[in-house]
Amino acid sequence: MIDLHLDGLTRRYGSTVALDDLTLDIGGGTITALLGPSGCGKTTALKLIAGLLDPTQGRVRFDSEDVTDVAAERRGAVMVFQDHRLFPYLTAGDNVAFGLRMRGVPRRERRREAQAVLERVGLDGLAERRPAELSGGQRQRVALARALVLRPKVLLLDEPLANLDAHLREGMRELILDIQRERELTTVVVTHDQEEAVVLAEDIALLFDGRLHQHGAPRTFFEHPATERTARFFGATNLVAGRRQGELVETALGPLRVPDGAPSGADVWVTVRPERLTVAGARGDDRQQVRGRVISSAFLGNRTRATVEVAGARLTIDVSDDALADVGPGTVLTLGLPEEALWSVPRDAPDETWGPEELAAVDGDPDPGVHRDHEPEGRP
């Protein structure tokens, strides 16, 4: 188990800053995701950890050992690329044994070890195949096996699930997590997909424009985002404009109490996840309640989603029980907004630097809920 420390890691290309002053401590044996839209510097960070790029500034340490000037091949951090990069002229078995061969491990021993790792990733019997004779999912596993056979100090995975079909993703995810746990491998995963980050990682480091934006457990990104940008990247649907007044936030819905520790500021968005809203009456103890009219509702199999207009703002609510079973457009509902479900983030000035994924996350939202354009005018 190697603790991984990044100290002020910076990489510039000419005048562009790909990665700006990244400081991050990654606990030994944990799996951390570097998350962000394309061009946010996450792959640059991974290559800097791998030693495939030299930082302009900053240090990389494995435990207390400074490896910044250690060449990639002696660093013990093995990178698995998104496009798996198998050597096309070698069989799967020889691909896996490649690193051992570079170390001078005798042929028989490296064959045996390669065989064992191939079995571990579920590819026994395929050692003699060439990459061209393997499916996409199998290639990805060979690439993983090729890294694992070296018993790396740090495993670096570049978008490990991105090239896989939906039905293969689950299996690959389980495999990565199982192996990571059984070997207590310090693992860094790069991804642009917040879902992938959430299902794979214990910890997420969110990067925008080469800068670390927020670092923490996946849950905090949903429930306690630090900024509007984070909230939107994680698909926040309910954003209600408000103004901080002491302990309360004045909104079109009335004064709302948000938990201590929520980022404050004069102008904020109050956020609440759709599944954390309640239908009042279902639980009797909601102190903060609002009344609104249902605009639409839809049964989604494992839950029911409704959009409710409250005082000119729209709230989306997801309910997994039958509390919304017989509501339809026009039904008047009382919604509970439990204090612990609310959060607030400072309102950003509209930002032109948002990447395509972020814009897609906003545009692709099936129900825009309360966005800027619904912001009530002329508040007291």
Partner: protein, 287 residues
């Protein structure tokens, strides 16, 4: 090839099998036509080499004879010495041009830099400038340096057209090679040299073999530069061929011509067979 992994259902991509079949016969016609175009000129040459007098309008020679071939293949004759010198010079040119052109080709094929277009254009100048102009120009310099009239001088002269060719072909090879595999190899513990040897060379070797072959053949067929720089003292097969041709003996000339061209044709065919046609395609654009 027996067990199919039960957990993955996506099929291996067999591009080769998807292509082909359908449009096979038009291709066969084109290829046959090209082979015929290449080989037909050899037919009269073969006939002439085996004739004892072969004149218009005869379709076939009246009398057959192996006289031409026995003169050409005579162990005491000049052919074998010329063959040896031609091979020595061509191998030297091929090897030297590779040493210079492969690193140059790697940079040209993989990097962008200011003035790249100009460099590429300059590399084409030996193709555009007549060899005789080059030959007379460098002859003066080589005389002063004492390089005229020797094998070394001829090799250096041949490098002028050969090196840019090999460099441009190498650039195409590197541009089309999957060099990202090098950084993967580094990450898997290969040193820079190991990555070059075990990965990069494996990727580019077939293409570079073709480039090297071109370097060899450019030297093999060189006449003007050898004549001027060698000053008659370096007798390669093309020099011998021209001398024989001006001697006026048709069957000896034809046999010499065949003797000169066959090794090149054989080399080309063998290389193409070993590499498979695909490698010739990688010699395309250097981008």
């Amino acid at each position: 090839m027996t067990a199919i992994d039960a957990t993955t259902t996506d099929a291996p991509v067999e591009v080769a099998e998807l292509e082909g079949r359908r449009d096979r016969w038009p291709r066969t016609v084109v290829v046959s036509a090209m082979i015929a175009l290449l080989l037909l000129p050899f037919l009269p040459l073969i006939l002439a080499s085996l004739a004892d007098g072969y004149f218009y309008p005869q379709v076939l020679p009246e009398t057959w004879s192996t006289r031409g071939w026995s003169i050409v293949l005579d162990p005491a004759g000049p052919t074998w010495a010329a063959l040896r010198d031609t091979v020595v010079i061509a191998v030297a040119v091929m090897a030297t041009s590779l040493v210079v052109a492969v690193p140059a080709g790697r940079i040209l094929g993989t990097r962008r830099f200011r003035g790249k277009r100009v460099v590429e254009l300059l590399l084409l100048t030996p193709v555009l400038v007549p060899a005789i102009a080059v030959a007379i120009g460098i002859h003066v310099a080589f005389l002063r340096l004492g390089l005229a009239g020797g094998m070394t001088g001829v090799v250096l002269a041949h490098l002028i057209p050969a090196t840019p060719y090999v460099a441009l072909l190498s650039a195409g090879v590197f541009a089309n090679a999957e060099l990202e595999l090098e950084s993967q190899a580094r990450s898997l513990g290969a040193s820079w040299w190991q990555a070059q040897w075990h990965v990069t060379l494996r990727l580019v070797a077939p293409g570079l073999a073709v480039a090297a072959l071109f370097g060899f053949l450019i030297s093999w067929g060189q006449y003007v530069l050898t004549l001027v720089i060698g000053g008659g003292r370096v007798v390669t097969l093309p020099i011998l061929l021209f001398a024989t041709a001006s001697g006026g003996d048709a069957s000896v000339t034809a046999a010499t011509a065949l003797f000169h061209s066959l090794p090149a044709v054989v080399l080309l065919v063998v290389t193409a067979r070993i590499l498979g046609g695909g490698q010739l395609a990688t010699l395309g654009g250097a981008r």
